[in-house]
């Protein structure tokens, strides 16, 4: 049946209603052959982690434009960890100042994408990272 498909959760934590970026990225990732689960708006970190468990995703991508990323992004990571999902590839995007990007990347986010990012670059990044992980899993097995 061909290649294993990458399953991606696109999540909108917090009260922020700006979903243009999240939905655009979700559509592009789907065009790249990934399976997409979109959480919809106004989700708590815990609710997002719950959906990640239920849908057994490989990747969690978060989008936030409300300035609350330093509060909510780490909480999603904790909620994933509490549910045994610390292995997922965790990425994010939004209006996030440079210093915060560095802090979040040091705190377990693989990569954060800012305004002006080419959506194909996001897809290619995810594919490359998942390829690395699956190759390693294959070698470990």
């Amino acid at each position: 049946m061909g290649e294993r498909r990458i399953r991606v959760l696109v999540g909108k934590p917090g009260l922020d209603g700006h979903d243009r970026g999240a939905k655009t990225v979700a559509s592009v990732l789907r065009d790249h052959g990934m399976e997409i689960v979109y959480t919809g708006l106004h989700k708590t970190p815990e609710a997002i982690a719950e959906i990640a468990v239920q849908e057994d995703v490989d990747v969690v991508g978060l989008s936030i434009l409300s300035g609350a990323h330093m509060e909510l992004f780490p909480r999603v990571r904790e909620a994933l960890g509490a549910r045994g999902m610390e292995h997922v590839l965790l990425v994010g995007g939004g209006i996030i100042p440079k210093d915060d990007i560095a802090a979040l990347e040091a705190a377990g986010f693989s990569k954060l994408f800012g305004p002006g990012t080419n959506t194909d670059d996001i897809a290619n990044y995810i594919k490359a990272e998942m390829q690395k992980r699956w190759t390693k899993e294959g070698a470990d097995a």
Binding site: G14, L15, D16, G17, H18, D19, R20, K23, T24, A26, S27, V28, I36, Y38, G40, L41, H42, T44, S66, G67, A68, M70, E71, L72, I95, P97, G114, P115, G116, N118, T119, D120
Partner: protein, 556 residues
Amino acid sequence: MSRNNDAGSVSVVDPRAIWEQAFRKAKLRDVDFSTLSGDELQPVYGPDDVELDEHADLALPGVFPYTRGIHPSMYRGRLWTMRQFAGFGAAHETNQRFKFLLEHGQTGLSTAFDFPTLMGRDADDPLCKGEVGQVGVAISSLKDMESLMQGIPMDQVSTSMTINGPAPIVLAFYIACAEKQGVDPKVIRGTVQNDILKEYQAQHAWLVAPEPALRMITDVMAYCTEHVPNFNTISISGYHIREAGSTAAQELAFTLANGMEYVRRGVAAGLDVDQFAPRLSFFFDSHLDFFEEIAKFRAARRIWARKMKNDFGAKDPRSWMCRFHTQTAGVSLTAQQPENNIVRTAFEALAAVLGGTQSLHTNSMDETLSLPTEKAVKIALRTQQIIAEEVEVANVADPLGGSWFVESQTNRLEAEAERYFEEIEQRGGVVPSIQAGYFQSEIHRSAVRYQRAVERAQKRVVGVNCFVEDEAGPEIEIHRIDPASERHTVDSLRELRETRDAGQVQRELDAVRAACKDGGNLLERFVAAAHAYCTLGEIAQVLREEFGEFKEPKIL
């Protein structure tokens, strides 16, 4: 000499034929020549490209159908209001920014609220942790409104409040605050956005399901007609539709469709159209496509005038006038080479002025990075002042009227809007189309199409897909919200809960609940609840319980 036959002499006197022949031979740049919204353009326009009845379609400024502007004197009489949207942190911090803007020549206030306030939640609600005061000011009660307006004479300043789901509650705080300043609500001026339909379609800060939300809006119209007659009760907004990714035509069409829906609701609630329609105002985006935007503003005035007069039978000319605020396009700003955003904003602001706007917000260069700094806000305000004072564009009304290109674009946008009105009607109207996710899908499709066009460099963005510089561009200062603001707002709210009259709070909340059930005017109840220092979250919770929440349709 080429006069050897008749055919030859025809081609000599027909400039179009000469031009066509030459144009076909010309070597063209290999770029996309469509509008920003993706509509094909001709290389040049002439009289044959525009079908126009000068009197019926254009007339003159201040004359139906107002294509050329709503005032006979336009900016010779009065410049547009320079209204910079501001708000962050705790109420007293935004109060300082308001005073700064007033001192620098701004002529009206415009309030940005934080997400907790926009979603009808108190600052101490666990769902709001980390969001208080981030993208706007936190207003949880009348007490916060009092510190927001402290020292600002509410009988003199006009205030715009960008809030929708809980708009009637926050408006009640404003009215109550005026009363506490000793100002008669009859004289307060301003606008409350209060446009819930576009929240479901694009901006997504809703409180309850559409039908009860629309009932609250007609309650606001009814109450204000009588008690707060100088307040614009709704600002029907295309801005968020456009920022969410729509085309210019979709922004125009969906906004006016929403406007007509509010008018229908008002009429159905038993109000006389001429009693409330003059207090309706609009809010549009001004994006980068200079001529398409100008045409959009002109088309909006013409369509609204025709609908109000012909379809709704409004008799008061003020009901026919599409008055609007404009904001330059936030989505057009780039995080790359952010100082270039000053130039983008200036062009967008100029389009809004040439399009005849009544008020204008110019974005600051740093808004793709954070909320703006004082320096960036001042440059944005100065941009408007330069347009008003230096470039001599405020002397003549509708200076592009009669341009074959602009008139053809105006006609095209009107025709596209009419096609959308039919489509929405066929789908059962605005609310069923929202519930089916129609607008949301249309906007999403346009957003993806534009994103792909940029990524394929069909649409050029300086600093993003052309004239790109290294990552390490000039560092600009970032405005960070002090975490102490959230603590301050939460502490102040806790203190309020301990000191207010709990019995009176409960009585007022019960009265709100009763009005939800028996159809009493809710704004009247909210004003009373505001005076009792009921909080936003407490009142909103009653509404959520009584009216039910909105379930977002799945479009992905």
